[in-house]
């Protein structure tokens, strides 16, 4: 394993079982700073469980998740976010009742004001800095012309882009993406890939859970293959592509 740069996220010896079922076994995963690390695997391989363990939604049966020297296990979602971890969900989680611009401004407040602050005596209209930043981010993802629309009225692809913008504006150190192109048309998938490539240069570490190979091989610096709750292979995209075990466990099943 080549370890240039720092390890930002370390999933250390994580086990997770539900009753008698071993969902995750001996998972040891190191994500390097600034890299895009993809976790792939067939359905039921334990990808979502792993992500939920990383984000603190599920507690591991043993082992720990360490982000930049801090143990994430047992922390609440907002605490994890305040440490610099943002998350994109499989089905976009946005504020459907708010305008697109408000959707993007909200996370900016979380970054600036922390997890709780009664900021009652300033008008949102007067929060110039935050507003400009939000508009900038919206331009990045190509939603600027829709900023006044109710977010609930966006198409699915646009909702995903909005959610991405909501994460990007926080300038997280680690961005977790759970199947960012699930349920998207080929066209939307491609624009999302372009978008993710565009932000790749910003030095943000990303973990992508995905089973669309096209997406994985266009974005990932490193790939871990999960099957039956274990990591069966890990390496650069080309190494993984050529690995017979992977072909057998995963690619073989598809092609």
């Amino acid at each position: 394993m080549q370890t240039k740069g720092n390890v930002v996220l370390h999933v250390a010896d994580v086990q997770k079982h539900f009753g008698g079922l071993h969902a995750l076994a001996d998972i040891d995963l190191q994500v390097d700073e600034g890299k895009t690390h993809a976790i792939i695997g067939p359905n039921g391989a334990g990808k979502s469980t792993l992500l939920n363990v990383i984000i603190g939604r599920l507690a591991p049966s043993s082992g720990a998740v360490v982000f930049d020297g801090t143990v994430l296990t047992g922390k609440k979602p907002h605490e994890i976010n305040q440490l610099g971890v943002a998350r994109v969900f499989q089905t976009p989680e946005i504020f459907a009742d708010l305008s697109v611009l408000q959707n993007v401004m909200t996370p900016a407040f979380a970054r600036r004001d922390g997890a709780f602050r009664i900021n009652m005596f300033r008008s949102v209209d007067n929060e110039r800095g935050i507003r400009e930043e939000a508009e900038h981010t919206l331009e990045d993802v190509g939603l600027m012309d829709r900023r006044a629309v109710h977010a609930g009225a966006l198409s699915r692809g646009d909702k995903r882009r909005l959610e991405l913008a909501m994460c990007l504006i926080q300038k997280p150190r680690l961005l977790l993406l759970d199947e960012p192109t699930a349920g998207m048309s080929r066209h939307d998938t491609n624009t999302t890939i372009e978008l993710l490539k565009k932000i790749k240069s910003r030095g943000m570490t990303k973990v992508i859970i995905e089973h669309d190979m096209h997406v994985v091989f266009s974005l990932a610096d490193k790939i871990s293959v999960l099957a039956g709750g274990r990591i069966i292979a890990e390496g650069l995209p080309d190494q993984v592509r050529g690995d017979p075990r992977v072909q057998e466990a995963y690619l073989g099943g598809v092609h």
Binding site: I55, E93, F95, S99, M120, S123
Partner: protein, 383 residues
């Protein structure tokens, strides 16, 4: 006002203030221009605005807000009895006590969401109500209700003067608060409450509350600790309910437990829905309409109806009087319930949504070219 308020907000506030302060004139054509009723307009306006901060902005439907209203009434009454007839300490005391109650009840209830939250608030309020009637009689005077008597200690007042002759009444530094004085006194509090609600709605804090209503999960993963946000909203709205309760005692110096009953909690829900949940002016309009119709409808009797239907021939007139009689007077709750059902079915956004629909229909006819550029922060124009 530039730093705090946008131009649009300033216009709205000035317009609202003008309507409130001119109400004694504006309400005259409707037969509502007497201080007692208009004071209730102010008080229940405050109650509804406060409730809306919790339900309209944060999305938590409390079915127990009358408890804070009742607690405010009792607290103010005790201040009148023990401290002074001055309304200011009574109001401060009431708001503080209601705030403490809201903090405790809110802290516990907000551990749950959805209908579980509603039932928890209902359970707490019903407990307050039942206890006020039974065990707490020394504090609440049970069914009779708590009122002032001449022999009350009133420590602060006795420092400066002898006990007044006659029945003690609340005042403001010696100025009587009966009649129109009482109305303007309450009106100032309504304006202050409206201002506060406007600040909250347009502030980042208010945006966080709307975020909680819209998607609590996303709020958590966005780095917000939502519990203290919701609790703050709960406490603010409980304190405003306490303020309203104390103002009611200023007008009508009798505090009774029935103000805490769940039907009273239901009433403030009705006001807010009727006017328009989540809007600024809606809850006030809802409160005014309900209090107006309660007052007007319940005073209708068969004679009034008979003269109203005077144009009909004899038999038809009597039939009309009988039928209409079921909807007014004692039966005005029937009209209220029907109106409420119709609103929820056809106009879930309340009267404010109706206004919005009509005005956008008019705008569309008049050519909607210049209608889109403004208000991009808040998608619904009436906020």
């Amino acid at each position: 006002m530039a730093g705090i308020m946008s131009r649009k907000d300033a216009t709205l506030f000035i317009g609202f203030a003008a309507v409130v302060l001119l109400l004694p004139i504006l309400a005259a054509p409707f037969g509502a221009a007497y201080p007692d009723l208009l004071q209730r307009f102010m008080i229940f306006g405050i109650f509804a605005i406060g409730f809306n901060i919790l339900f309209g902005l944060t999305g938590y439907l409390s079915f127990g807000h009358a408890a804070f209203f009742g607690v405010g009434s009792y607290a103010a009454m005790w201040s009148f009895k023990l401290l002074s007839l001055n309304a200011i300490p009574a109001i401060l005391f009431a708001v503080a006590i209601a705030g403490v109650f809201a903090l405790v009840i809110g802290y516990l209830s907000l551990r749950r969401s959805g209908i579980y939250f509603s039932i928890l608030t209902l359970a707490f309020a019903q407990m307050c109500y039942s206890l006020a009637y039974s065990v707490l009689t020394p504090i609440t005077n049970g069914e009779t209700g708590l009122r002032m008597i001449r022999a009350d200690p009133r420590v602060l007042d006795r420092l400066f003067s002898e006990a007044p002759a006659g029945v003690p009444v609340p005042s403001l530094f010696g100025i009587s608060l009966s009649g129109w004085n009482g109305f303007y006194f309450s009106a100032l509090f309504l304006l202050a409450t409206f201002f506060l609600a406007m600040r909250i709605t347009n502030s980042p804090f208010g945006m966080m509350l709307k975020g909680i209503k819209s998607n609590q999960n996303r709020m958590n993963y966005t780095g917000f600790n939502t519990r203290p946000y919701a609790l703050t909203a709960f406490v603010i709205s409980g304190m405003l309910a306490g303020l309203a309760g104390s103002l009611l005692v200023v007008t009508d110096p009798l505090a009774g437990a029935e103000r805490m009953q769940w039907t009273a909690s239901g009433e403030v829900v009705l006001m807010t829905i009727l006017g328009g949940v989540g809007t600024l002016v809606g809850p006030v309009i809802g409160a005014w309409l309900i209090k107006y119709f309660e007052n007007i409808f319940s005073s209708f009797n068969d004679n009034v109806l008979s003269s109203f239907f005077g144009f009909l021939p004899d038999g038809a007139r009597e039939a009309a009087v009988v039928v209409a009689g079921k909807f007014v007077g004692e039966g005005w709750h029937l009209s209220l319930g029907l109106l409420f059902v119709l609103i929820v079915v056809f106009l879930p956004g309340g009267i404010m949504e109706g206004v919005r629909r009509i005005s956008s229909a008019i705008r569309r006819r008049g050519g909607g070219r210049h209608a889109t550029a403004r208000g991009e922060l808040s998608p619904s124009a009436a906020e």
